[in-house]
């Protein structure tokens, strides 16, 4: 059977519109550039003395080209949305076309996005910084892209048409929209974005890849932040010898070319020697320290409350910590002393190594940022007031300085998730540490690039996915920065 067309039944109507909108956009862009270069300006406010000193903004030709560009973009987007809407209502795959069918598969994601946006915009005035995000168009676009992938990761099971590692050998390198020959009743009858060189569905792998990436990136960034904060606060606040030593170590890690570090940490021989395990032992203890100090400094005047909170933190922390670093299945692991009964969960060795190396690469930068902010904030009056009141140094650091540093930290957190996603992709691209079967975007790009010039579709889908996610995070950070500066 012939593969389905890109645009289905609506194609003949909407395709010319799309082409026209693109053409108009580029023509308008060029004309506008030429006109600006020739010295024409967009219309400016003019006070008209003869008409009761009113104000008018005459439109110059530049304004008309800008308007043309704006409407071209709107028409383009409207066509895509129409394809998606039509795709949801049409039932036959040939009618939907690839675009419509992909849009229809993402239906749960669209619903979730619409609900999120309606609720958020409705209540944006009471939602603090998050609500203010919806005043910035750039921030909203960023938030949309990020939430799109977050919901895709959540609903990956519903959105994907096939399993991430299901192989149908006839579908090797098939073009987007190809139908599966003699497909079973009840299975999805086509590969929407084609098949890769092993005969797996590109679309489903992309969707499942979102889950793989979003499982690691935010968590790794969070750990890096806890480590950076736990070390950066005292380094900036106390200064002195400890500051010099930690800063030197942080600079050491930063001077290491990232890619070399990855190769050194993730190669099988070094994993065999247990280096990542020892590193995880050191790195994962910082979150526990962070929470212990956090609650201890807050409640040390209320001994009962403090005792309860610390006990909770220490018990859960220790349980998670030892479950994390000890591996039931691995008898060579250097950490065999932890009883198996208490080993609640296991992280697959590969994943742990990737996680540790990404955290390790990110934490020195966070440390430097936190240290810099603390150096700035500790000269403020309210810190001096706290010191005069007799507040302990840790209380001042964690409950006075840290909340006031949250703006830049939140912005950097968004940027850093994006950077972590890029790092994960880099690891996958070099085939380091990740399972070769995994749907991870980086490794999918790496697999596809060998036949790139002949079969371009397998690596293109994950490449665009990764790009939109990171772009979304960057735009989100930009919107947050803009809105938090307005205060």
């Amino acid at each position: 059977m012939d593969p389905m067309s890109w645009t289905g039944t609506l194609g003949p109507i909407l395709n010319p519109l799309i082409v026209a909108s693109i053409a108009v956009f580029f023509l308008a862009f060029l004309t506008q550039a030429v006109m600006i270069f020739a010295g024409m300006r967009p219309g400016e406010v003019v006070i008209t003395p003869d008409q009761n000193h009113g104000i008018s903004i005459p439109r110059s030709p530049v304004d008309y080209t800008l308007m043309a560009m704006k409407y071209a973009i709107l028409v383009f987007l409207a066509c895509i949305v129409l394809f998606f809407i039509a795709g949801v209502f049409q039932s036959d795959l040939t009618d939907q076309g690839v675009v419509g069918a992909v849009g229809a598969r993402f239906l749960p994601v669209w619903i979730a996005l619409i609900i999120t946006f309606t609720v958020s915009i409705r209540f944006k005035r009471v939602l603090g910084l998050y609500g203010k995000l919806f005043d910035s168009p750039i921030g909203m676009v960023g938030f949309f892209l990020v939430m799109f992938w977050v919901f895709t990761a959540i609903f990956a099971g519903l959105v994907a048409t096939h399993g991430p590692i299901d192989v149908i050998s006839q579908m090797r390198n098939e073009v987007p929209g190809a139908f599966i020959p003699n497909s079973n009743e009840g299975d999805f009858p086509a590969y929407l974005l084609g098949g890769d060189n092993l005969g797996r569905d590109v679309f489903s792998r992309m969707v499942h890849g979102a889950r793989e990436v979003l499982q690691i990136a935010p968590a790794a960034t969070l750990f890096a932040f806890m480590i950076g904060i736990t070390l950066g606060l005292p380094a900036g606040y106390f200064g002195g010898k400890m500051d010099t030593v930690i800063t030197f170590i942080a600079n050491l890690v930063l001077a290491f070319p990232v890619i070399l570090l990855f190769y050194l940490l993730v190669t099988p021989e070094i994993v065999l020697a247990g280096v990542p395990q020892y590193m995880s032992m050191v790195l994962f203890i910082f979150p526990i320290i962070f929470f212990v100090v956090l609650f201890n400094s807050r409640y040390h005047t209320q001994p009962t409350k403090r005792a309860i909170l610390l006990a909770v933190v220490l018990v859960t922390g220790a349980l998670c910590y030892f479950s994390l670093i000890s591996d039931r299945g691995d008898s060579d692991s250097p950490l065999r002393f932890w009883p198996e009964v208490l080993d609640i969960f296991d992280i697959p060795g590969n994943l742990l190594i990737v996680f540790v190396s990404v955290v390790f690469v990110n934490s020195p930068t966070v440390f430097r940022i936190v240290r810099g902010i603390v150096l700035d904030i500790k000269t403020r009056d309210y810190v001096a007031a706290g010191q005069t009141r007799g507040e302990g140094p840790w209380y001042i650091m964690l409950w006075e300085i840290l909340p006031n540093a949250r703006g830049p930290l939140i912005v950097d957190f968004c940027l850093r998730i994006g950077y972590t996603t890029i790092l994960l992709g880099t690891l996958g691209f070099f085939g380091l540490g990740v399972d070769p079967e995994s749907a991870n975007w980086g490794s999918t790009i790496n697999e596809g690039r060998r036949l790139l010039t002949i079969y371009p579709h397998p690596p293109l889908a994950p490449a665009l996915a990764l790009m939109t996610l990171v772009l979304g995070l960057n735009l989100l950070a930009d919107g947050l920065r803009e809105e938090s500066l307005k205060d």
Partner: protein, 374 residues
């Protein structure tokens, strides 16, 4: 960033540079030891023994092979030997009475061999995989990467500065917003993504615009650009080198442009710019004669710091485009357990990073008149 204040004399500047060089040497020493430690862990050596000797060696044989080849000494001592501050190992074979040693080349009389032979003596070791002196390999590869980086900088720096200045001269304008969004987009596109997109768009014979242009007969050949830079190693042409250069330049460009924009926007709000405007100086002259020079101080340090950052990009691009330069060598050495080559590559990488950091610090002090003449 720069610990300078109060009386600024030439002497203080000298001290500052000396202190920076001291820190740099210490950092280099620590980093190389870390790399040495990680590449000389027992599993690596075991693998080396098995690839060099016999794949089916027993554990005892592996240990004997390692002892006979000078890997038996303690780690720190071997690091000293590698560095050239400790005398190279010498082992006398019990059976044949032959003397072999780190500094004794094949066929050399042991009596003539130097006592020290390490990095400081210019002996970088021997690559077990490519069967060649490491120095020969590294310099050739560095030259290739140097060409790539050179072109990248030629493309990247001027365009980034122009974009940044154009965006920053009228903060908040439409031009600013569109250029800023574009630079965000380039920083959000890692090399392995943009490289793939470029190859599909411009260098594929089945997809992108090449087949369309070829059908119209607008250019000779099958594709607009070449998706592999292998031929660029001998002869760089526009056809085979554009895509790698573009891929690398694009990722680095956004960051420099954003820094330039921030710096330019800050300068444009300065008092002296307002004075110039009120005096009636034209906008063009304000930007070109008054603002530009001050606005370019901060981007200078960013450009220098961008070079080590491009290093990862170089590795990706050279792998993606099959260009056998320095980054490609790093990947090969690391994946083939070629210990001495990997050490040499790391040294070069670390030195590049630290030197650019130092130049950026010192350059910032020299370029900024407010710090220089305070």
């Amino acid at each position: 960033m720069v610990p300078l204040g109060g009386q600024q004399t030439g002497n203080a500047m000298g001290q500052f540079i000396l202190k920076r060089i001291g820190t740099m040497l210490l950092t280099a020493l620590c980093l190389t030891f870390v790399v040495f430690f990680l590449t000389n862990l027992f599993p690596n050596l075991e693998k080396l023994a098995k690839t060099q000797g016999n794949a089916r060696m027993t554990d005892a044989e592996v240990l004997r092979w390692l002892d006979n080849n000078g890997f038996g000494d303690p780690m720190l001592l071997r690091y000293g030997q590698w560095l050239g501050v400790a005398p190279g190992w010498i082992i006398k074979d019990e059976e044949s009475g032959e003397i072999i040693g780190r500094c004794i080349d094949f066929g050399m009389d042991p009596a003539d061999a130097p006592r020290f032979c390490g990095l400081l003596q210019g002996d970088w070791g021997y690559s077990t995989v490519s069967d060649d002196e490491v120095t020969n390999i590294v310099w050739g590869r560095l030259l290739l990467t140097g060409k790539l980086m050179g072109w990248v900088l030629i493309v990247m720096v001027p365009s980034a500065l122009i974009i940044g200045v154009l965006a920053g001269m009228r903060e908040g304008s439409r031009m600013d917003r569109s250029l800023s969004t574009a630079s965000i987009a380039t920083t959000a596109t890692p090399e392995y993504v943009s490289g793939v997109i470029f190859i599909v768009l411009l260098a594929s014979s089945t997809a992108g615009i090449s087949p369309w242009l070829a059908a119209n007969g607008w250019f000779e050949g099958r594709t607009l650009f070449l998706g592999s830079a292998r031929s660029a190693m001998d002869d760089i042409t526009f056809w085979n080198f554009t895509l790698p250069v573009m891929t690398l330049a694009l990722y680095g460009m956004g960051y420099i442009a954003r820094m330039t924009r921030a710096s330019m926007a800050e300068v444009m709000t300065a008092q002296y710019i307002r004075t110039a405007r009120l005096k009636g100086v034209s906008f063009r002259n304000i930007v070109l004669k008054h603002a530009l020079r001050n606005a370019l101080i901060a981007p200078f340090t960013v450009i220098m710091l961008q070079i080590p950052w491009l290093l990862t990009g170089v590795v990706i691009v050279e792998t993606l485009f099959n260009y056998n330069g320095f980054g490609w060598t790093l990947v090969q050495a690391a994946s083939n357990n070629d210990i001495e080559l990997l050490m040499a590559v790391s040294i070069v990488a670390v030195v590049v990073v630290l030197t650019t950091q130092m130049i950026s610090d010192i350059g910032y002090v020299y370029l900024n008149p407010r710090i220089r003449i305070s």
